[in-house]
Symmetry: D2
Subunit: 371 residues, 4 copies
């Protein structure tokens, strides 16, 4: 008897998402079928829905998820780290498959900049084409050969893994690979959404002496404090003036400015502010400017005068995703990240999106399975 | 009989420079008296004269010069590289003495960011105070103990050394220390003044396959071509549209963008343009934004999207100055940099400044001595 | 009618190679059949023949080659850099296919350290298994899907490309990726075989002021001089005492020691000598120790005392191979590398191996085709 | 009335130290007189006494100490970080004054490699020459102009500061500046003396997931466990076979080898063992090979094969010393380093040296003052 799976599908830009039902395919060679248990809702999903990004519709959404192996295709016996796989195992996977053949994959070894045909689950795979189930907001997802599939460590619960589903690897890329946080550094993190909180956690795990979070609204900063994330919290709604915020940052750093600033706010003006926060010879990671809002006023004199180093960081690839998975035991031993999550049923996907848009929740997660 | 020395002094901001005469002092312990032969005129001198920088007046100008040792103070027997010194030796010197005691001198080891009492010849030493002769636009200059004094290599003529007096070490800092040019790279240099030409030379010496100079006016680009500096020359007066320039740069790089962009133009908008020129994962050195012209529109999305690395580079210190001096044999073997120079008599300092301001010359040099 | 191809096969360790004949297969999807024109003979082939390396026999040898496209399998239309491919095009290819799935491929992004099932043409593909033609010492080679295949640039002749077939990408890895040669540096290269000469060339292209080659025998150093490779040449047969060589190196560097030392000699004691050559705070690339000869006496105190940086460099991957191909126009514009080559017919493979063993030639190349 | 000060003086190599008495000098311009409270005994002192190092005798020993300002010379009003100084303030100081003028001070910015006349308190200042009191094993020490003098942070007690007097800055240099420990790394530290323990602490503060200490004797490892330093402890006296130790390390790292190895053992063979411990593409810091014991067998093939990065690290300079001082609040919040110390009276200097030699204590400290 053929099994079927629900899937939340974006059929038309700007319209509510629809629940569809597809037959569950049998995995071909080196592919896998996974029973989704938890799937994250991300700021990017808002941009997808609104039509700001050039994707095909209809598309089954869901680019961050965890689940249990249902069926392994012929030949697929181990995850990418060499762990044996069996039905029932908890797994997660990198949401994109870089082409592995273009200049950026081969020569620059920066697959996040892949210019070939990069497949992204929940984003650019048409729901109308086989295997249909290519998004995580569904009962089942079909993982193509070449997917970076990894068994979850026992130290972390699936809820914890999904809490930083996209944010964790994004922060690994920016904070552990693009800039260097040294033991004893003072770090400013701009933004208190999932990426900002993850960046602050990695800065603390890297030995930062003081982490200053500049974000909001108050509920998010309260959560940060409860989690032990950040030592100083500046609420941009309470301290609405950028100069005043800069003054506070300088006051917290003995007048010197921050050793490292990690921009995770997404607001263009945050980059100008980061330049003000940084100390001479300091480093800035720009990891939050995913969306093109056009130019913003920035003073280039300060880049020269302060001898700054500014590093952009785009998305994440296998090394960052596996870095995130590897860091989970340390992360959850230090921060109770499950508290970030607000759960919704699969049928509530539209509400979940609305709550992410309004900032009512920090991290919306669809609770798909029964566990 | 007491000797006297002429000195060109800025007495009042915005007013013509005056020729004064001072007694020539006898050097104290570890100090040196140098007979100036050539002294450069630099864009910074324009800013000093106009009063844009917070300096004391009256000040004897001239922060780049070469000359011959007149008298060595007791204890001063060798230059900083261990070469013996004697009267008559051709020498040059770093124009600033960092404090050696502040956080940036000691902990960060970035003395160009020195926050202590950094003395700068020809810029912040009052002409009214002993030893009066603290600028290079004079017959004699008094070099304090602690000055980074270095004997000139025989391979280069003094005229060649002064041709890139400030520009050479500035480019060493930006091109050799802040970014990395690899053999085979394509490099864009913005600006065709002395710093731009020096940056292009160091990029070529570092193995750049193609150097694209974006500058002007035409006379400067003609000089660059004559010197063999740059492989492609884009005249900003002829190609006045930034988008068109970007298109040319991309065309010259197989559509990829430049591996490295070195901003030496000083115009704020050049930084936004550098971001457009760079390839994904490329590097940008911002070494020309010395003056604060305030904010300019820059699109921060591109920093994230292109995973760029942007490095500011402020001035130069001993390591860069000595790096410049060490590079002279290679520089002059490849580029006839003496051609950059237009000579003026010491009395013609005001004309020289005017010609620098109008762009009529690439590098104005005061011919002080008789050799 | 079925075509057949000759292939030089190692059937038994320590025995002469045999000429076999196989049917020429038709390429499957994404595969390619290439008509070999030139194939290099490498020191590694000696180790393969003698049985020092754990490979399956029989194996068709030849892990560096260039040729012309004979037939493209379905779907294969472009090389990895996006150039269109057609029968008759001159091409070359990376000799190994990393698994793309192990920790070193995915997380560390060091595919040369791949611990998965890495296929190497001419080394670990059994000649008894289809497609049989998996080595370059043959009329035809069958390139599997996933091979890093690249069209040759017109600026270099195929003879020039093969001259540094393995040596070029090995040197790119060591000299351009593991250490940094700065404009003005003094570099010692140990070894004057193909890898040593290639390392010296890249050091010169990177702006090294002085390159000192420590090698031999005299014929190789003479060739180096003819090619303009190296500025100082020390013959280890004439200067047989290591201390004396060290003294010469220090004499050539004003007593300071070399900024960078690149070990390409393969003799274990060369590493101890490299440590003596290097200046304090200098860098050493160890790229020639391919074979395990066991321990050699090295003084670890000098590593601490001189604050050295020592970088090992193992083989080459796609980024280094494509880096080599990209550098060819610059390489051949500066060095007439075709002069390194001594040609042999395919039937003379055993003689070629013998001449490589005796050091009678610098670079033996099998001239397979007719062009 | 003239005050006098006791000083422990090494008069003759290989002989017991003598207690002398000198007049206490008045500090000249920019100098300082400090009342010593605690002075550390270091392995180097053993080498000094035995005559293994080329120093002048008689010399007042003591190159690591803390104390309180007694008298400030004219002009000395602030420490190097800009804190105001007054008599009675707790201070410490870098034990060496680099020349600031040689190639390594100026060009390479590696003052620990200073080749000029570097003055070292307690090591190369003759006790027979004024001001006589140039070592820390004395009631008073005279600090020359140019000494890197720093006020102690209130968060740490003077006993804690002296516990890692030399070891702390040595580890800062090696662990924070020469290699990079990333959050999540597994780190092996060889040696469990003060340098080894300090290295392990900085690795943990930098986010190392697992720190494996290979050292001994058992008492030192017990102390490490009590302090929470290291997660796995291998006793070289119990596990006397190097291969067995390597097997344990690989077992603790899932067979991969360590990401970073920090050699702090001083035994030459430790470097060969470090190479065995390291994972492919791993990093090794060689910071313990202070003494020249001559060559040891090392297999250079592994450097190439494993693509290793090996960094030597010599002593410490201002940036490392101030880095240590800055890290004290974090250090003592995590590790009760005062437990490392065994106190002796100034008159017991010979016993203290003997106990350091026998390994009976981890860190011997002379309790000079009354506090």
């Amino acid at each position: 008897m053929t099994r079927t799976s629900r899937a939340v599908v974006l059929e038309e830009f700007g319209k509510p998402l629809q629940l569809r039902r597809y037959d569950v395919p049998t995995p071909q060679e080196m592919a896998a079928l996974v029973r989704v248990e938890y799937a994250g809702v991300c700021g990017t999903d808002l941009h997808l829905q609104s039509g700001h990004l050039p994707i095909p519709v209809p598309v089954g959404l869901g680019h961050e998820a965890v689940g249990r192996v249902d069926t392994l295709g012929p030949g697929l016996t181990h995850d990418v780290l060499g762990n044996e796989l069996a039905p029932g195992d908890w797994v997660s996977w990198l949401n994109n498959i870089a082409c592995g053949r273009c200049r950026f994959c081969l020569v620059e070894q920066q697959p996040t900049l892949c210019t070939g045909s990069r497949r992204i689950y929940g984003i650019n795979q048409s729901a109308d084409q086989w295997p249909h189930l290519s998004g995580g907001w569904a009962d089942y997802i079909y993982l193509q050969p070449g997917t970076v599939l990894v068994k979850l460590p026992e130290a972390a619960t699936p809820q914890q893994v999904i809490a930083l589903g996209c944010a964790g690897p994004t922060a690994v890329h920016g904070v552990l690979n693009e800039v260097r946080v040294r033991s004893g550094d003072t770090v400013v993190v701009q933004g208190s959404g999932p990426v900002g909180l993850a960046a602050a956690m990695y800065a603390q795990l890297s030995g930062a002496k003081k982490v200053i979070i500049v974000g909001g609204p108050a509920t998010r900063l309260e959560l940060a404090k409860r989690l032990g994330v950040g030592h100083v919290h500046i609420d941009v709604f309470q301290v609405a003036d950028a100069d005043e915020r800069t003054e506070i940052v300088h006051g917290e750093t003995d007048g010197a400015g921050a050793d490292v600033v990690v921009e995770c706010a997404g607001v263009p003006s945050a980059v100008a502010e980061a330049i003000d926060y940084a100390r001479p010879d300091g480093a800035i990671a720009v990891i939050g400017q995913y969306t093109d809002h056009g130019p913003t006023p920035i003073n280039p004199h300060l880049i020269t005068r302060k001898n700054l180093n500014i590093s952009g960081s785009w998305g994440f690839g296998a090394r960052h995703y596996l870095g995130y998975i590897a860091s989970l035991p340390q992360l959850v031993a230090n921060f109770d990240i499950g508290q970030m999550v607000s759960e919704y049923a699969l049928e509530e996907a539209n509400s979940a999106l609305a709550d992410v848009k309004s900032g009512a929740v920090v991290k919306a997660v669809l609770r798909v399975g029964d566990e």
